[in-house]
Symmetry: C2
Subunit: 589 residues, 2 copies
């Protein structure tokens, strides 16, 4: 339907000598010796259209008036270009369309930035004119890739009997988790809906309703301070199933992601994904979402250095902490003393008080702390597999600080030393998560995932006696150092759910007030169930090879949670506030 016979970017040898009709935007117009060449662009790509006054004087005259970003409909015959005119960098570079007819469907002012893959336009102007920014081929392709990823996920889940079921956006505010976006109720003064941070409880209730397998690709909201890969709203691939084991859910997830990689990138991902416990991930990579595309693992030296006379190490070990090292192979020459000071400063963000280091030279270990380690030099060299030219860094503190610090330094150095093969897609499961983290500020345990996560059966007795010991039937899927998603089995009995709430510091009254409906639901034949939620934006970002989720969203917010195009959020009328029974206590200019 419509007049178009082929997309500009898809003109191919099948169209040779055929009359085609194209619709698109003027990417470029050149006049070469009285012949006009227009690169015409649509979402699929660009094709060269030739206006020769000998073919059609009318068409030539119209083409002569066209400027960048005019919208044209062009009819002509597809020809093979002369050998010397072939453009091998262009999908349609072997062809050109000899135009016989042209209609200008709309004109355009000169855009504020050029519509090219590499733009120098800043983020704000790109967002303000997002409709122009999205015309750039890489952005167009990113969103088309996103549609393909979404479609692939849906088809996989449809084909495996997962039902697409919608859950409410106007929900109830709950205190566990991040800050909610609230929506004042007009009908119920002083009452508020909350936008969902995830449909977690609703999907569990759908399992209780017997739907057996559910999925939804759904918008979620968190009113948190923004970072590079965070947005106020984000999209989640939300999956839940009854009667399955964690391994079953992982297998479905793996197959689905492998299918995405196959369709979107043509890459065969080996299955199953490697699996690593949370303990192992922290010990070897200093991260619960390790990037395994490069080695440079953390090396535990607590045994090796347990008797050396270096106060920093001794203090750490005496306080129940640990001493670990990183060996940056062959990096000694690349880091001056000053560089190491900078690196120590970077490390201090993660809680480290310093970053001790050594260089391995022909005649032994050199560096500020070398003198303390002479007694264990051989053992240390053996354990770190040190060779001449290596740079060895140490972390000595609590387990949390050492792993956080060296994990961050590891990733930082990998980028600086160019250790990462960006063509790799290293998927990984991190399993056996702790059920709780201790929150020092709040002085209580909080959920590492969420309060509905099922503890490991054998750890249930520790819920009352030693919550730190409790591991969860929880699993995260990691890709190239990013958490793609997290899942778990969920609690399906009231008794256990109430025990977990108690461990989290809930009184019976508080849990009834906030979760009465869930607790009551647990009384009525709630099936064993579990699931997973994946961040779609992040998945597409990684598949697209981008480093910010904004590049794979049509209309993201800027770093201040604003849309520079529509000016949202905005002030509203006094009548709107009056109807909602709210007053504004402070107003930004």
């Amino acid at each position: 339907m419509g007049n178009r016979t082929v997309y500009c970017g898809l003109v191919d040898k099948e169209n040779l000598e055929q009359t085609v009709t194209l619709q698109g935007w003027v990417q470029k117009r050149r006049d070469l010796g009285g012949v006009i060449f227009i690169d015409l662009r649509d979402r699929e790509g660009i094709v060269q259209v030739v206006f020769n006054p000998k073919n059609s004087q009318n068409a030539w005259e119209t083409a002569d008036t066209c400027r960048s970003e005019y919208v044209l409909e062009v009819t002509g015959i597809v020809k093979k270009r002369d050998e010397e005119a072939i453009n091998p960098n262009m999908q349609t570079g072997e062809f050109e369309v000899m135009a016989s007819d042209i209609t200008v469907l709309n004109t355009s002012k000169t855009p504020p930035f050029s519509i090219e893959e590499d733009t120098k336009a800043g983020d704000e102007i790109r967002l303000k004119y997002r409709y122009l920014d999205l015309r750039r081929s890489n952005m167009t392709q990113n969103l088309m890739l996103r549609a393909k990823v979404t479609q692939t996920i849906r088809r996989y889940l449809d084909d495996h009997k997962f039902l697409d079921i919608e859950t409410p956006f106007l929900g109830k505010s709950t205190p566990e988790g991040a800050r909610d976006y609230l929506v004042p109720s007009r009908v119920h003064p002083g009452h508020f809906y909350a936008l969902p941070q995830s449909p977690q409880i609703f999907k569990q209730l759908l399992m209780n309703a017997g739907f057996d397998r559910y999925y939804q690709i759904v918008r979620c909201f968190r009113d948190e301070d923004l970072r590079g890969d965070r947005q106020p709203e984000f999209t989640q691939v939300d999956i839940e199933a009854s009667f399955l084991t964690p391994e079953d859910i992982q297998e479905y997830t793996e197959q689905m992601l492998a299918q995405v990689m196959k369709v979107a990138r043509g890459i065969d991902i080996p299955l199953p994904f490697p699996k690593m416990t949370w303990d192992e991930a922290m010990n070897r990579f200093g991260s619960d979402k390790p990037d395994t595309r490069f080695a440079m693992e953390l090396i535990d030296l607590s045994d090796v250095v347990k008797d050396v006379d270096f106060k920093v190490f001794q203090m750490a070990l005496q306080n129940g902490g640990t001493v670990k090292a990183l060996n940056a192979k062959g990096a000694a020459d690349k880091y001056s003393r000053k560089d190491m000071d900078h690196l120590a400063q970077y490390a201090s963000q993660f809680g480290a008080k310093g970053l001790a280091w050594l260089k391995v030279e022909e005649d032994g270990l050199k560096g500020p702390i070398a003198k303390f380690l002479t007694s264990v030099e051989d053992a240390l060299i053996a354990k770190t597999n040190a060779e001449v030219g290596d740079l060895i860094m140490f972390g000595a503190d609590s387990f949390e600080v050492v792993t956080a610090t060296l994990g961050a330094v590891r990733t930082h150095l990998a980028k600086e030393l160019d250790l990462i093969d960006s063509s790799k897609f290293n998927f990984l499961w991190v399993v056996d998560w702790p059920q709780f983290e201790y929150d020092k500020e709040e002085g209580r345990y909080v959920s590492a995932h969420h309060p509905f996560t099922m503890p490991k059966e054998e750890d249930i007795p520790y819920l009352q006696t030693d919550p730190a010991k409790v591991n969860a039937q929880a699993y995260d899927v990691v890709l190239n150092g990013y958490e793609l998603g997290g899942g778990s089995l969920r609690i399906h009995t009231r008794e256990l759910q109430e025990q977990v709430f108690r461990t989290l510091g809930f009184t019976q009254e508080k849990m009834n007030e906030q979760f009465d409906f869930l607790l009551e639901a647990l009384d009525y034949g709630f099936p064993p169930h579990g699931g997973i939620a994946l961040g779609l934006d992040r998945l597409v970002m990684l598949v697209a090879g981008e480093d910010n989720i904004r590049e794979v969203m049509a209309f993201p917010k800027n770093g201040k949670a604003m849309d520079p195009m529509t000016h949202a959020p905005s002030t509203v009328s006094p009548l709107q506030l009056y109807e909602l029974n709210i007053d504004v206590t402070d107003t930004e200019e």
Copy 2:
């Protein structure tokens, strides 16, 4: 994956003599002569499981402890039932599973209402225990049907090169249209996001970005007073395309809906859908969304009665109004004088001052106004095709009042007289809508669809001189008297868009303040484009044969926009309000 080998409801002859493992809920348990029969239910249906102590004493003992809604895993052999035990009303009624093993996966308290297709439970209790309500087979099937409809729509659109692109939920409040739900910004005190009433402008901007074909199945929000088929949030199938004619867009929509009917109901809908202008729909059916499953059309009598000496008719005609009639064939006997009074009362809701009527008897027209019409009796009988036993009703007033009244009476009577064949699915296009409606309260023209609708080319001159004369390139798709969706071509030049805003009473300042980004976008090669938006909830409701969209939503709100299960909306903490820089001015208990 998982232990299940077949869903309960799908046990079939292929499973005969095989060992199967089932997982599901106890629908019913009976003990007949020491043998226990359990009807086990999952989302696909029910199968009978037999526990004979002779097969397994252990399994029998466990089965004996089971009660309604217990969750079981059962293993056994599928057998053909004895001839006399076959249940023809049950999908699996020829089979039963002789159990050898059973595990109770969870127990259940007695539900507050029974899990049966016909429940006597009221709406509130059904919503409070929605997870139980959804276990009822008709509700389970409704949501499974919805998933299938959604999937069918997506596949159709995917296959026709429409791209699934997500648009923001945190948008900008605009004054045109219904009341917005607002979301206070924490980062920008005194500023608010608005939840989308539709992604209208964003999808137009996606056309400007060159995506050519877009769709999204997307939640939308309107803070309006609730009615039977309205919810605060609803789901829209949102479609937009560039370079197509209204007929192209209609054809895609028809094919998509025909595919839905085929997949969801096995029905072949004849294509193309009939088309009717808005004028014709109003004149013949008194409705812009006519139910064409029955006739009883409105009959224009203005000519016939123009000279009769009946003041009501004369007044109507003199004021530029109209006189129309309905002929309820053979209904004279069914409506007493008192019934007609009730009907007149019903009609008065729609603005009518009364509902004049006649009955056709052997010796002529009888009834309160018969005496005024003797002079035109033959003409009237001829025009209304009146026969003995018919009941004829009259509307005489402005065109708006007459059509609204008789349109409503027509539908009302059709239900009372059982004229509607509920197996019919009558799709219909209503085209050539007026561009504007005059809003007496506001004293200005408002958009019949929305301000971005393209007027008919030939009517553009009337934008300034006589807006009432302007028709739009707009089309609604109607099914069985419900508006399924509406679409139009959109304006793609700044000049025309500004002219329409001016006709709507916008000053230049106001349009710049509210729509500067759209007007600016129109400067940069905006392609000709148009689209449609369909109400998914309503479509599924009609396909499912339900009469309220709540029956096809997993977790709807009640008539007060509340969720009786989670108690949303709720009060929130003072800290939350403080962080959002708002105060509550009134609180409901």
